[in-house]
């Protein structure tokens, strides 16, 4: 009896201590606990340029907390993503930038700003004890692949020019209910070919009028913004073979393009095949059209796109498929299993007149505590501590955490630090359109190879 009582007391004690321990892990220290003087720039005001985006929607309501903590006034300017690209570059190029903090995209957007000297290096802010409480901020808590996109000019060793705040890894979305109805067991879909077979069998005519109402797939096909998603597919086909991190897999060490490499041809061919199994008009689908197709229940799968779109599909105000969505990493190819990731960060224009308060804002907005709160709405945290946090795990839709974790484990930053990279990307889009419209993949890719060779030759990279 005594023994039993001891055991039960011990069990309760152990449970309590675990709860306490979990409780500590569950609640990162709030900004007020950071050992810096948050009020050192009191009375100043800053302007923050944001993209209309889930992170912006989640963080904006919290900004009054920052203003109260620091006495700094924050003006937020929000731009639609289409309009953001030139506004951010033009703003940074100005002698008086109209903003002090800006969204910065991993890749070419960041590199262009870096090359013109428009970005403030942030290492000195991170290492200045007056401005940053390093122990509290825990910069090492960010996934290295997310930070890599803001290190320039080399993704693995350059200075840091942006702090990540919304990471997206590319994975597949599928309709659990449709798969079940048609007897497709996702656990048995092991390879890309298995998935493609499933996609083709899910072009459905539900009302028997002779026309397809639900398409097997939806996938981007519209403009050069496709590159990060396409890179996920290419990474998957590229497998585990090494490559130069600054130019993705598309160029070898001597800058010779690799668009006729069978792995890259296969990736483009698969993308084209998925476009053929999408709703008509796919060549004008950007993320908005794709998420609409999927959220309206018009597509059985949505391929290789941003994990953060789960926040749209699970929102009853925006989605007719709440609770019906499954999440899966990209299927393995015969070369291995990979994907790509892309990250938005926050940066300071080098010519800003309010760099101190701008840094305090970035530090606050990307801190563990704020990230935990924001990420419960975006599902897009770039911090490991958030993904390990029980509160966050509970907020995730069923299956998303596992799919993201499996994808993050193999994800490669979608970075192409290539002079004239954008020119190459536009030709890549041409190749995809040609394949989707019926040109054999080998032929379209040979044309792309020739054009890319010309472009890198003109840029003086490939002799």
């Amino acid at each position: 009896m005594k023994m039993r009582r001891f055991l039960s007391v011990a069990t309760v004690a152990l449970t309590l201590s675990l709860l306490v321990a979990n409780g500590v892990a569950a609640a990162p220290l709030p900004p007020s606990k950071a050992k810096i003087n948050w009020r050192q720039f009191e009375g100043q005001s800053i302007t923050v340029l944001m993209v209309a985006h889930p992170w912006q929607k989640a963080v904006e309501p919290l900004i009054p907390q920052f203003e109260k903590l620091t006495g700094i006034k924050v003006n937020v300017v929000v731009q639609a993503e289409d309009l953001f690209w030139d506004r951010s570059q033009l703003g940074m190029s100005s002698p008086n930038p109209p903003f002090d903090v800006t969204y910065l995209a991993m890749g070419i957007n960041g590199l262009t700003a870096y090359k013109n000297g428009w970005l403030e290096p942030l290492d000195e802010y991170l290492n200045n004890p007056k401005l940053t409480d390093k122990n509290w901020f825990e910069f090492d808590d960010f996934f290295p692949a997310d930070v890599a996109g803001f290190r320039m000019p080399k993704p693995d060793q350059g200075k840091v020019y942006g702090i990540p705040m919304a990471g997206e890894v590319y994975l597949n979305f599928y309709r659990k209910d449709l798969f079940k109805q048609h007897g497709i067991d996702v656990r048995k879909l092991k390879t890309m070919d298995d998935w493609l077979k499933a996609v083709k069998s899910l072009n459905l005519d539900t009302n028997k009028d002779g026309k397809t109402d639900i398409y097997g797939a939806t996938i981007r096909g519209a403009n050069a913004g496709i590159i990060d998603e396409l890179n996920a597919m290419v990474a998957d086909y590229w497998g585990d073979a090494p490559y130069q991190t600054d130019r993705f897999v598309y160029f070898d060490e001597n800058w010779r393009p690799r668009f006729t490499d069978p792995r890259i041809v296969a990736a483009f061919a698969t993308w084209g095949e998925l476009m053929k199994n999408s709703a008509p008009g796919v060549t004008s689908f950007d993320w908005y059209e794709c998420t609409t197709q999927f959220a309206q229940g018009r597509a059985a799968t949505y391929w290789a796109d941003a994990s953060l779109f789960a926040s749209i599909f699970e929102d009853p105000k925006q989605s007719a498929v709440v609770g019906k969505v499954g999440y899966a990493p990209l299927p393995a190819t015969k070369n291995g299993h990979n994907t790509a990731l892309f990250t938005w960060g926050l940066a300071i224009p080098a010519r800003s007149k309010h760099k101190g308060p701008a840094w305090l804002f970035i530090q606050w907005a990307t801190s563990q505590a704020i990230d935990l709160e924001v990420s419960q709405k975006t599902f897009a945290s770039p911090r490991k501590s958030t993904w390990d946090n029980p509160t966050f795990k509970k907020a995730l839709p069923e299956g998303l955490g596992e799919a993201v974790a499996a994808s993050l484990a193999v994800a490669r930053p979608s970075i192409m630090y290539v002079d004239a990279a954008d020119k190459v990307i536009l030709r890549m889009l041409d190749a995809l359109h040609a394949i989707a419209l019926g040109t054999p993949a080998e032929k379209a890719m040979q044309k792309l190879q020739d054009e890319a060779t010309q472009i890198v030759k003109e840029a003086g990279l490939y002799k």
């Binding site: 690209w85 030139d86 570059q89 033009l90 190029s93 070419i108 262009t112 090359k115 013109n116 000297g117 428009w118 009028d209 026309k211 398409y215 096909g221 519209a222 403009n223 050069a224 709703a279 008509p280 008009g281 796919v282 060549t283 004008s284 950007d286 059209e289 609409t292 197709q293 309206q296 018009r298 002079d419 004239a420 990279a421 954008d422 020119k423 536009l426 889009l429 041409d430 359109h433 040609a434 989707a436 419209l437």
Partner: protein, 293 residues
Amino acid sequence: MPRQRAITAYGYLLPSIAVLGAVVLYPVLFGLYASFHDWNWALGQAEGWKWTGLGNYLTLLRDGYFWHSVGVTLYFTVVAVAVEFILGFAIALLLAQDIKGAWFFRAATVFPLMVSDIVAALLWGMILNPSLGILNYGLSVLHLPGPDWVGNPQLVVPTLAAVDAWWQTGNIVLILLAGLSGIPKDRFEMASIDGAHGWRMLWHITIPSLMPFILVALVFRTIDCLRVFALAWGITSGGPLRASEFSQLFIYTQGFGRLFNMGYAAAASVVFALIVGVVVIFYVGPMQRRLSA
């Protein structure tokens, strides 16, 4: 005191000259200057201009994608202006009659003009969406096939021309209506006494009297169609396979839109402006002859 008067006149003109200089002349000269430089922001040259002489122009001459965009633009312009003119002329003739409720039809024709180009583009982007849009839904209710309006390279330009016609035909209607109201009624009465009516009246009286108005309407619409941008930017992004990549979209992509190769975009703008100029001269010649006659 003619000299005094001239000074006063220039004094009055000065504000307009200053404003026009700032918003027209300066950008034009700046663009011209930029077009002779390597000024590629993507290469970090935002503040480091490099003189390249005719370099950008020589590259442009060899750039098949630029000339493709010029071809697409001309094709769009011919189709759109033809459709808008035929429709606009027919509607103007109908509205010039004193039919009941003409005010309603006038307002209905002019209404789309109040919509900005980008709004028209986004609106039609949704309507034309083959699987979610209302147009193909309407066709399916009538058991008619719904084509892939903007995803088919053969169909995309005529489709965009049709959208432009919805949006801009009212312009032609307004101009021609003004012309029609200015034709003296007695001409028609005299012709009808002579036994003319219908097509003959149209051919021999209406069209000749309207000619200056027709030319003005055609010049306006042609220039407008040549600089088409938002329809492609908002609906197709230039696709599929560049089938709707109009010159303005090409220039935008070279510059602010994507590549930030500002010098090259400036050179493309200059060349395209010259092409527009040549097209306009084709109209202005006959117009002047007609006016002086």
